[in-house]
Point group: C2
Chain length 315, copies 2
């Protein structure tokens, strides 16, 4: 009889739940439920449990056939423990023991930060996964995760892998959301991209409309050769390349994976990043491949499911 694992992606707005075949890691089905805003902490875990119960029924699966549940949350996690969570009522919460109350003993549980889980899942989804991988996701913010020797890097308290806050720009004068200055996110996050482009627009010829500026419009215009858009995109690629060269010299991954909304620009962006990376890479690290993230907004459920499978397999 088939066995299964669940991958759960807990976000500020919704909880995504995916059921996977344990052997093939094919996804059976997935669905979303609203993230409960109730004040009692257990509401999130109850909601996950109810989701699992009803999804088991829909798929005619017994709880005995569920081998593991992987959960990600949008905050630092250390060995399953959340100290503080800005967007959810999870401060001082042991995710594992909180979930254990609802599930039978045989169900293996893992929990980690969402971007770190995504890094694990993106690498594990490659045809030939690597031992060492770094994911950089480009969206409103810049996030990511670090995988070393096949394991996720959490660091002392779960803040490891916050690649968006690598200091890359010495001359930055504005303060980043993190309280420091010169972070990768200040240049390559949505606000940084839009502000830089807006400042260029009055002085240069461009097909871009200042009043309807989006990151997508900038990348599309750059592909068409628009000089302002190209300047912005080269700047984004340059600083991602520099951040990657710093990551290389500290952790030397076998692969960089680029994800998030901006990564939809595809090979155009990857090629530019790789060019700047090679310019800044040290020693022999310049040949590390860059790949596009493939799991999209299912990164959380796929990564969580893959992480709990890897724990089950190794124990």
């Amino acid at each position: 009889m088939s066995k299964y694992v669940y991958g759960i992606d807990v976000g500020g707005t919704s909880i995504k739940i995916g059921l996977f075949n344990f052997e093939s890691m094919d996804m059976i089905n997935d669905f979303e439920v609203e993230t409960p805003k109730l004040n009692h902490k257990d509401s999130i875990f109850e909601t996950i449990y109810q989701g699992i119960i009803s999804n088991n029924e829909i798929n005619n699966i017994l709880m005995d056939d569920i081998l593991g549940v992987g959960i990600d949350v949008p905050c630092p996690v250390k060995k399953g423990y959340v100290h503080t969570c800005a967007n959810l009522n999870l401060n001082d919460t042991d995710l594992i023991s909180s979930m254990k109350k609802y599930l039978p003993d045989h169900v293996e549980l893992v929990a980690a930060n969402d971007a770190t889980i995504a890094a694990f899942g993106e690498n594990a989804s490659l045809k030939n996964p690597y031992d060492n991988a770094v994911l950089i996701t480009l969206g409103t913010g810049v996030g990511g995760g670090v995988i070393l020797d096949g394991a996720i890097v959490e660091g002392a308290t779960g803040l490891g892998g916050e690649v968006g806050h690598i200091r890359v720009y010495d001359e930055e004068e504005k303060v980043c959301g993190c309280g420091s200055k010169g972070c990768l996110e200040q240049i390559c996050g949505t606000a940084g991209i839009l502000n830089y482009t807006k400042n260029l627009l009055p002085n240069d010829t461009s097909i871009l409309d200042k009043d309807q500026l989006t990151v997508k419009a900038i990348f599309d215009a750059a592909k068409k050769g628009d000089p302002v858009a190209l300047k912005t995109v080269h700047r984004v690629a340059k600083y991602i390349g520099i951040a990657a060269s710093i990551l290389s010299i500290i952790n030397e991954p076998d692969v960089f994976i680029i994800g998030g909304g901006v990564s939809k620009s595809g090979k155009f962006l990857i090629d530019l990043i790789q060019m700047y990376y090679k310019e800044n890479a040290r020693f022999t690290t310049g040949d590390i491949p860059f790949k596009l993230a493939m799991t999209g907004n299912q990164a959380g459920i796929i990564g969580s499911a893959m992480l709990v499978k890897s724990v089950i397999v190794s124990t």
Copy 2:
């Protein structure tokens, strides 16, 4: 009967050999032999073997009582394998199998990069070792190593932990020895420190003598309040602080350990580094302690011995 391990530190000029009690990790004795310059690769391993044999005799110890031998070398090492070594005839060499030929099967062998081994040894030498530690060594160059979850970080090919080549200075115009620009080593290595100070001297009042300038003289003058020397030392501390803030956001160690010649300036330097680190640290990583390296030029033999002991204990 007591059991023992050897720690071996292979340098370009000499090979340091230390004998340690396995239980207490007290050093029984240590000695140096010249690094052989012969062209055949085995000469280094033969020299180590002869050193072990004669030291066993001196200490009246049987080979049966040697549980392990740890070896470090001054080049990237991946799982005991050296691809290229700039200073020694060790290109394309499996250090483990090369040494295995000389030693009985029961002897556990480990080999790794010297700075990474030093990081492992410095952390393991602390009263309460941490899971995650980073060593930054300040000397002619700037080196170091990264320990995560108790294990050394080698990366894809053994280049992990090259903290001296973290890019910290965006405006640097000179090319670093590594081929890139703006590396920590360009500011905080001996040449960087001396050049920066020399450029300041013609214009400022200072007790420093331009023709007899040394890094030690600069740090001593800074302690006395010399304005030129203070400017240099603050610059060094600032960029180490920035590099540490970058390391924190990627790997979030529990501790930073500062070693190398410059670290002899002691608390004076550590306090400055910590001040700049706090200015640049992100989120809650600002409270990570900074400690001075304690093992000095025995870092290699102590770290190698501790690493092989850790492997024996865990298997």
